[in-house]
């Protein structure tokens, strides 16, 4: 349990590092804005990531229901899956937690000699990363559904007209 204690005690530092590593995946010239503008409406990207990373982090400390975790992952990945990232980049932020832990807690882990627990923790992070990839795939699928729905909407009124009269209006052929 010693590792968990460290994780709990150093929550703020590790979380902040994880958040900063994640926001650093944005161009340096923008990440300052993403980190500093705290108004959730003027900076939805930074604030969503910061809020949800907090939720995800706490899921390692206390029992959290899987849906909450899935929602958190979805909130972040929904944003990153339409930004200028490859799939691995969009989901890779989850694995950055490992790095944050190692960098922030290296000494404590060494002196407490809790490598087994660390490994178990890292396994959980890996699982979360896989769940993140699911979320990514869902978001991309959604994106294509959105396109499809838009197409449907564009034609729905004329389809209704067609169904009513049984004859397609000429302009559809024409344009």
């Amino acid at each position: 349990m010693r590792f968990d204690d460290i994780l709990k005690r150093r929550e703020k530092a590790v979380k902040t590092r994880w958040l900063n590593l994640t926001l650093d995946t944005y161009p340096a010239d923008s990440s300052g804005f993403l980190k500093n503008q705290k108004n959730q409406f003027l900076n939805p990207v930074g604030n969503t990531i910061s809020r949800e990373i907090g939720v995800l982090y706490r899921s390692f400390l206390t029992e959290t229901d899987p849906e909450t975790i899935a929602n958190s992952l979805d909130s972040i990945i929904r944003i990153r899956s339409v930004q200028e990232f490859s799939p691995s980049q969009a989901t890779g932020f989850i694995l950055l937690l490992k790095r944050a832990v190692r960098e922030e807690l290296a000494d404590e882990i060494r002196s407490a000699d809790c490598f087994d627990e660390l490994q178990r923790f890292e396994l959980k992070v890996d699982e979360m990363a896989l769940a993140g990839f699911d979320a990514y795939a869902r978001c991309r699928e959604r994106l294509f559904e959105v396109k499809l729905n838009e197409l449907r909407r564009q034609t729905s009124i004329s389809l209704a007209r067609y169904n009513r009269t049984g004859q397609q209006s000429e302009q559809l052929n024409d344009s």
């Binding site: 990440s31 804005f33 409406f41 929904r78 890779g92 994106l143 729905n149 004329s158 007209r161 000429e170």
Partner: protein, 538 residues
């Protein structure tokens, strides 16, 4: 721990983007982010230069031999014709006030989406060619040469600006990126670099009078269908004349109103309203488009497409013109139409036939916004309204960019909405009125192929909607802009499922108690009004 691979080794990922000066980084022309080029057929139809087959993803854009001279000459010419351009090139101090005001910057984190940098793309070339220090000192003075990669960067970023003017609100000098984007697009047009979703609607509009290319009989059909639909819902068969001479008012709407979902329900709303108040009006199948994609192309194209409105008003002999719900359409009508195609001295100063209100604010243009008109009717108690028919909606209102920042029609729609529904909730301050966030797909960018970019650009808007959706269960986002109504459904579909889009006049049409109507069990969407039947059975 050293034998365990680091996470970076496990997944080969560039966690941290490289740090480069802005002149050194290049955008990637990627599907999902960019728009397709203009189809040669339509470029030709409009007599625009250099029609050809090319795509932004190609290496070779098949530019004309002397493309650079053409652009520089075009710049010289426009610096002389537009004080805005000349001044905005000269006076920016790069204070950074605009930097985080752009929805594309906020949603993408791409630093070149900061309005100041978008403008610097043009300014750097301006310095190189029209400024002594820039000529002599080059990059040291912030100048750079116009090359093909620079042109591609222009294409990428100037077709990634929705001309929403939000940055201009915060600029201490009023530098308007919309104006700069318009100049850049005009310049690119000169060498045949434009996008299909601007040129094709413009060509359609030139020929048939509307962006969708609907021919006169198609327009007549659309109106006839609407009459049928409205009869199904209300039991009343309204009269909606097309091309009728001698009517008092010409009514001009964006074409999506009679052809797309959810615009159409607002269209039914207009027709119900006009019938109820007995308005003497006509549609025109030629002026069957109030919107104007010329605004997104060039001032000349805007003028060409806009000319039909006054021409039709004159031909049909109406007294004044009424305009439907549309955003950029009203930017053109408010800021350009009279200058371009006026004076409208053959019309009369608009006067509401029901209330006698003279619309002094449209004394010269002689065109009134439907929300001004309806607000005046409600204020004078000319309408019988049943708010409860909109009870299934929990409503918020999105200020569209152009009505907000190029006109200032903020209170009229709110007054109407508050009179036709019971549940209205404002989005948070800083995201509405003059600070409203763009839908992310205006100015010709509302296409299927750049969906990812649209989702990024629309995030700030969607995020504010999500807030009222979570907090107040808002399920209807109303707006008075045809582009909004076309693109916000997709935005909501992705970011805030469960929120639908509606017109202000859809709510008016729902609430309007019409003389002789049948029991209204369905709303204008043809969907049942919850609880209505039971309540009226008593």
């Amino acid at each position: 721990m050293s034998e365990t691979p680091t996470p970076e080794e496990l997944v080969k990922v560039d966690y941290k983007p490289p740090r480069k000066a802005w002149m050194d980084s290049k955008p990637e022309m990627r599907r999902g982010v960019i728009n397709w080029s203009a189809v040669p057929k339509n470029v030709e139809y409009l007599d625009l230069p250099f029609p050809r087959k090319w795509q932004p993803t190609d290496d070779d854009w098949k530019l004309p031999e002397n493309w650079k001279e053409i652009i520089l000459e075009g710049m010289r010419d426009r610096l002389k014709r537009f004080r805005t351009f000349q001044i905005f090139m000269d006076i920016c101090v790069r204070c950074g006030a605009c930097a985080d005001k752009c929805h594309f910057f906020i949603g993408s984190g791409d630093p070149k989406n900061m309005p100041v940098l978008r403008a610097e793309l043009l300014r750097a070339v301006y310095r190189r060619e029209f400024n002594l220090a820039g000529k002599l000192m080059g990059r040291m003075a912030g100048a750079r040469e116009l090359t093909v990669p620079v042109l591609k960067e222009w294409f990428y970023y100037f077709f990634q600006c929705t001309e929403c003017r939000r940055c201009s609100v915060f600029c201490p000098y009023g530098i308007d990126t919309a104006e700069i984007t318009m100049m850049a697009r005009e310049l690119m047009n000169l060498i045949g670099v434009s996008i299909d979703w601007i040129v094709t609607p413009a060509a359609n509009c030139f020929r048939t009078g509307n962006h969708l290319g609907i021919q006169p009989h198609g327009f007549q059909d659309s109106v006839n269908f609407a009459i049928d639909d409205l009869e199904d819902i209300t039991g009343i068969r309204v009269d909606a004349p097309v091309n009728r001479k001698g009517a008092e008012i010409l009514f001009v709407v964006p074409s999506a109103d009679y052809f797309a979902d959810p615009h159409y329900y607002g269209f039914l709303g207009y027709m119900a309203l006009f019938h109820e108040i007995g308005l003497d009006y006509t549609f025109s199948s030629f002026a069957s488009e109030g919107g104007n994609f010329g605004l997104f192309h060039s001032n000349e194209m805007m003028k060409r497409l806009n000319s039909k409105i006054y021409m039709e008003a004159k031909r049909l002999g109406v007294r004044w013109i009424l305009g439907g719900e549309c955003g950029h359409m009203w930017r053109v009508l408010n800021q350009y139409m009279d200058t371009m195609n006026g004076p409208a001295d053959f019309l009369e100063v608009p006067k509401s036939p029901l209330t006698g209100t003279v619309f002094e604010n449209a004394k010269s243009t002689r065109m009134v916004h439907i929300c001004e008109f309806t607000a005046d009717l409600i204020k004078h108690d000319k309408l019988k309204l049943d708010k409860s028919r909109n009870d299934r909606w929990r409503v918020t209102f999105h200020d569209s960019c152009n009505p907000a920042r190029a006109m200032g029609i903020l209170e009229e729609p709110r007054y109407i909405i508050n009179n036709v529904c019971n549940n209205f909730f404002e989005m948070p301050e800083g995201t509405t009125r003059e600070q409203t966030f763009c839908c992310g797909a205006g100015a010709g960018l509302g296409t299927e192929e750049n969906m990812e970019m649209r989702m990024r650009g629309g995030l700030p808007r969607a995020n504010a909607v999500k807030y009222v959706h979570d907090k107040y269960d808002v399920n209807l986002l109303t707006c008075m802009c045809a582009i909004d109504k076309a693109v916000l459904p997709a935005l909501m579909d992705y970011w805030v499922p469960g929120v639908q889009i509606g017109s202000v006049h859809e709510l008016v049409g729902n609430a309007l108690i019409m003389k002789g109507e049948k029991k209204r069990s369905n709303d204008l969407r043809g969907e049942p009004i919850p609880g209505k039947e039971a309540a009226e059975d008593v």
